[in-house]
């Protein structure tokens, strides 16, 4: 499906089903960027390692590993060690995100300055640089 989407929009972001099912079924080069969200737990790292392999096998563009809910340097290092050759972005554990989820609101509205929100936003702005975005809505597709 992602291969065939053809919107008149600059950017399509797909929140895939939990786990790797969709990634397994994606054809080669169907996306430009894979954001692989991982926690520093054995199970999460295992799933993510397989996800990273799939992304590489299928040439799914730029792979960004998001080390989520990082509580300390030990957590961050565990993720970096598991993905030594990949770009790893650390997003801190942030009670503001938990609180936003509890209330069913967007973290970006409830806590725009929360450290986790800022870390994810900074990563997103970096993607715009990659896409050659010039601020006029003319990002490459």
């Amino acid at each position: 499906m992602l291969s065939s989407v053809n919107f008149t929009h600059d950017t399509v972001i797909a929140d895939l089903e939990a786990g790797l099912g969709t990634l397994t079924r994606l054809g080669n080069a169907q996306v430009d960027v894979v954001l692989l969200v991982v926690e520093a737990t054995t199970k999460s790292l295992e799933v993510a390692a397989r996800g990273a392999d799939l992304a590489r096998e299928k040439s799914l563009g730029r792979l960004i590993v998001i080390a989520n809910r990082v509580r300390d340097e030990v957590d961050a290092d565990a993720v970096r060690k598991a993905f030594p050759d990949d770009e790893v972005i650390a997003v801190p554990h942030d009670p503001a995100i938990v609180e936003a989820d509890r209330h069913g609101v967007a973290a970006l509205d409830a806590a725009p300055d929360a450290p986790a929100v800022r870390a994810i936003s900074a990563m997103a702005r970096n993607l715009l640089v990659m896409a050659g975005h010039n601020g006029s809505g003319a990002a490459s597709v």
């Binding site: 399509v12 089903e17 939990a18 969709t22 990634l23 430009d32 926690e39």
Partner: protein, 105 residues
């Protein structure tokens, strides 16, 4: 640019997707957010609220059950089955709209 957000359930995938989508939109990019999760709650993380998220899911279920005709094209699909999220992000719940299997492709 096409982005896929992947991860184990409960890893914070949906929150990440929502913050990325709205940040890109705030910087002048037109953004479509597709909720491909079999437990679709991207709408809540984007800030459209429970009720609107439920409405999108109900429309998707009507499609799945054949009570509602499919949209003929992607932009039609967004017009008819999507909703406007903050910062100009256009959201659609697409699980099973194009394919009976759960998930996107």
């Amino acid at each position: 640019m096409k982005l896929a957000v992947v991860g184990k359930g409960g890893s914070g995938k949906t929150t990440t997707a929502a913050v990325v989508a709205r940040t890109l939109a705030r910087h002048g990019t037109s953004v479509v957010a597709l909720d491909c999760d079999s437990n679709p709650n991207l709408g809540i993380s984007l800030g459209v609220g429970d009720d609107e998220t439920e409405r999108l899911i109900a429309m998707r279920q009507a499609l799945d059950e054949g009570e509602q005709e499919h949209a003929p094209g992607w932009d039609d699909l967004l017009d008819r089955f999507g909703t406007d999220a903050p910062d100009g992000v256009r959201l659609a719940v697409v699980t099973a709209i194009q394919n009976p299997e759960p998930g996107c492709p």
